[in-house]
C-alpha cells in the first residue's frame, strides 16, 4: 500500500503560482508516491486535478475539508 510522501498547501497562493507549485511538487514524486494538496474551490479545484490527470497522475480523492478548503490526493 502506498503512503503519503508529500503535502502541499496552496490555499494562500494565487494564479499562476497555485498551478506552478502543484506542478513542481508533482514532478518530485516517484512511481507509487502520493501527494496531498490542500487547495481552494474555484479555479484551483477545477484546474489542478484536471491538468494532473492530463499529465498521467491519478486523482485518488477529492474531499472538502471545511468551507472552501479542499484536499486532493494524487498518486504517480
Amino acid at each position: 500500500m502506498s503512503t503519503i510522501k508529500r503535502t502541499l498547501d496552496i490555499t494562500q497562493e494565487h494564479c499562476p503560482m497555485t498551478f506552478v507549485k502543484a506542478r513542481l511538487e508533482l514532478e518530485k514524486l516517484a512511481a507509487g508516491d502520493q501527494l496531498e494538496v490542500f487547495l481552494s474551490e474555484g479555479e484551483p479545484l477545477q484546474s489542478v486535478p484536471r491538468s494532473a490527470a492530463e499529465q498521467g497522475y491519478k486523482v485518488l480523492e477529492v474531499t472538502q475539508v471545511e468551507g472552501s478548503r479542499y484536499r486532493v490526493l494524487f498518486e504517480k
Partner: protein, 159 residues
Amino acid sequence: MTEKKKLSLICFSGDFDKSVAAFTLATGAAAVNYDVNMFFTFWGLNIVKSGRRRSLVGRGPLARAFNFLAGGSGNLPMSRLNFMGASPGLMSRMMRKRNVATLEQLVQAAKDLRVGLYACEMSMNILGMKQPDFIPEIKDVIGVPTFLKLSEGGETLFI
C-alpha cells in the same frame, strides 16, 4: 496522457506590467503541461539581461549608452503611471503584500518549469550584445525562421 499543447510568446515590450503578464501566462501554461517558448526581442531583451541594473554592456559607445539607459530587469518601467520609475517598486510591494508572485518569482518559476527562453539575434546585434550578456537560461539566440518552427502548431502571443 493527452498530447501537449504549445504556447509561444513574443516579448517585445520591456515594460514591467507587460513582462508580468507574459511570465504569468508562460508559467501558468507550463504548469498545466503546455510547451512554452518565450522569444525576447527589442526592449524585451532587458528582462533577460544578466545584469539587473543599468550597466555599460554592448559593443560601441551608442550601444553601451542605449543599454545603460534601458537597464535590466530591475529597471523596467510601467507602461502607464510610471511616476519616474517609482511604480514598479510600489507595485512589487503590493504584489508581495497580497501574496501574488513578483516578476522575479515568475522568472524563477519559468526557469524551474523549463520554459524555453530565446533571444532575438537581430536585436542583440543592434545593441551589440552577445549571449553571455544574458541570463544563462537563454537556450539559444535565434532568428525568425527558428522561432516560427518552434511556435508551429500552437498559439502565439505578441506582448
